[in-house]
């Protein structure tokens, strides 16, 4: 069996003395692992760093085998990602989130979203907003998408300021007022009736929103304790955003 594809390296694990098992988010074949012979050599180690875009040929005798990757670099961005804390933690956080997807299950638009985010990781204004939208898209792919288009109570498409923690649906200001203390805030940049960019408080609300549903639907049922990458990315991005706004 053989296929060719491109993808973004999510991680690498040592295998023996000279080889590595690479984990790549491919465009057409989803999150895929494969053995890279000589993956720990001086030439291959920089290529197999998370965030790099690579061209792959995967070969195996049977489809269920781990198989082998032949890897060529397309765009080596890991060195650039290491230049800023936000970019570094952002890449690690995205890799951790993509690992929640089943293996070999294609998610082309998530792949495209990761490319866009990587290109903007050094810009705190864009990076935070794109990341929240990425998490919403991931929740959708995992079957736990939020419905932020209309109010769950009255069907209104305007003045949506809350999200119900029970249903994951938007709630308007008037309908949600009696339950405001139990609702999650819907930040302006996620409202479909507005055209706002994210500010620090909006971003915090956005991360709290997606973090709540990730915990409830994904981490807790699977018994996963997420690592500190997401939290580190949020802190670094908010710090960079505040610094930018003060300048």
């Amino acid at each position: 069996m053989e296929w060719q594809d491109e993808g973004i390296v999510l991680g690498m694990r040592r295998h023996g003395e000279t080889s590595a098992i690479a984990e790549v988010m491919t465009l057409a074949h989803g999150r895929h692992l494969g053995l890279v012979r000589g993956g720990r050599s001086r030439t291959m180690r920089p290529v197999l760093q998370p965030g790099n875009r690579v061209s792959l040929t995967w070969r195996a005798r049977l489809s269920e085998h781990l198989g082998e990757f032949r890897v060529e670099p397309v765009s080596q961005r890991a060195g650039l990602l290491m230049q800023s804390a936000a970019a570094l933690h952002g890449m690690r956080a995205m890799a951790a989130l993509l690992r929640l997807l089943p293996e070999r299950d294609p998610h082309r638009h998530l792949c495209d979203a990761v490319e866009v985010i990587i290109a903007h990781l050094d810009d705190p204004t864009s990076a935070g907003e794109l990341f929240v939208r990425f998490e919403l898209a991931l929740l959708n792919e995992l079957g736990f998408g939020l419905d932020l288009a209309r109010c769950a109570a009255n069907g209104s498409a305007v003045d949506l300021v809350y999200v119900s923690p029970k249903s994951g649906r938007a709630v308007s200001k008037t309908a949600g007022a009696p339950y405001a203390d139990r609702m999650l805030a819907l930040p302006d940049f996620l409202r479909t009736d507005l055209n706002e960019t994210a500010d620090p408080s909006g971003l915090e609300a956005g991360f709290r929103l997606t973090g709540f549903f990730l915990d409830r639907h994904v981490y807790e049922p699977r018994g996963i304790t997420p690592d500190n990458a997401r939290e580190s990315f949020i802190i670094a991005t908010l710090k960079a955003l505040e610094k930018q706004q003060m300048a």
Partner: protein, 201 residues
């Protein structure tokens, strides 16, 4: 069925040698044969040296270096600048930096890097011990000499975050063009890093 041609002791020697990094079954057989042929000149002294190391080697409780004393030779060396601490991933990196002999500093061995794939978290490394060492006030500068990998740099940032608010200078190794490196073969990240940290001639 392959007939046995050597005694079980030699088979065991070969099996154990094959577990050493850099040695597979074939090279382990060659190594075993070489040792047996040079029994008095090499095998005897080697087994004695290995037994001595097994009996005496300790992990330094201050820095994580391997030595026969605790605290180790580096930590107790009065000629070293103990206010300058170089943080490394493992003992192999410590030995590499010592061979370079660029600085006469103390060290701290982390025992790896943060790695969600391998399940290595902050509690699996000696980061807490490093923070405690900084809190004593004896350390003025920390040079974080981890590998130029995503995991290494993430570990560096984590350490920096843990030391926020403390009166200490935290630096890291420069990234750039390696000696003998040709620009045409370097990745974009290395080239950008090298350009950003350029110096005057």
């Amino acid at each position: 069925m392959v007939k046995r041609v050597t005694g079980p002791e030699i088979e065991k020697l070969i099996q154990l040698l094959a577990k050493v990094p850099g040695l597979g079954p074939r090279s382990a057989r060659r190594a075993a044969l070489h040792l047996i042929k040079k029994r008095d000149q090499l095998m005897g002294p080697l087994s004695g040296a290995m037994q001595d190391a097994y009996d005496k080697v300790k992990i330094c409780s201050t820095c994580g270096n391997v030595d026969t004393a605790d605290p180790c030779t580096i930590c107790t060396d009065p000629t070293r600048d103990q206010s300058l601490v170089i943080v490394v991933e493992d003992v192999g990196d410590l030995w590499a930096l010592e061979r370079a002999a660029a600085l006469n500093a103390a060290y701290h061995v982390l025992g790896g890097t943060l790695s969600p794939l391998d399940g290595v978290g902050p509690d699996d490394l000696t980061i807490a011990a490093l923070v405690d060492r900084v809190k004593t006030g004896e350390v003025k500068e920390l040079i974080i000499a981890v590998n130029a990998t995503i995991e290494g740099q993430a570990t560096a940032h984590y350490i920096t975050d843990q030391l926020e608010g403390m009166d200490i200078k935290v630096t890291r190794l420069a990234h750039g063009v390696p000696v003998g490196g040709e620009l045409d073969y370097l990745d974009e990240g290395t080239l950008v890093a090298a350009l950003r940290s350029r110096t005057s001639l």
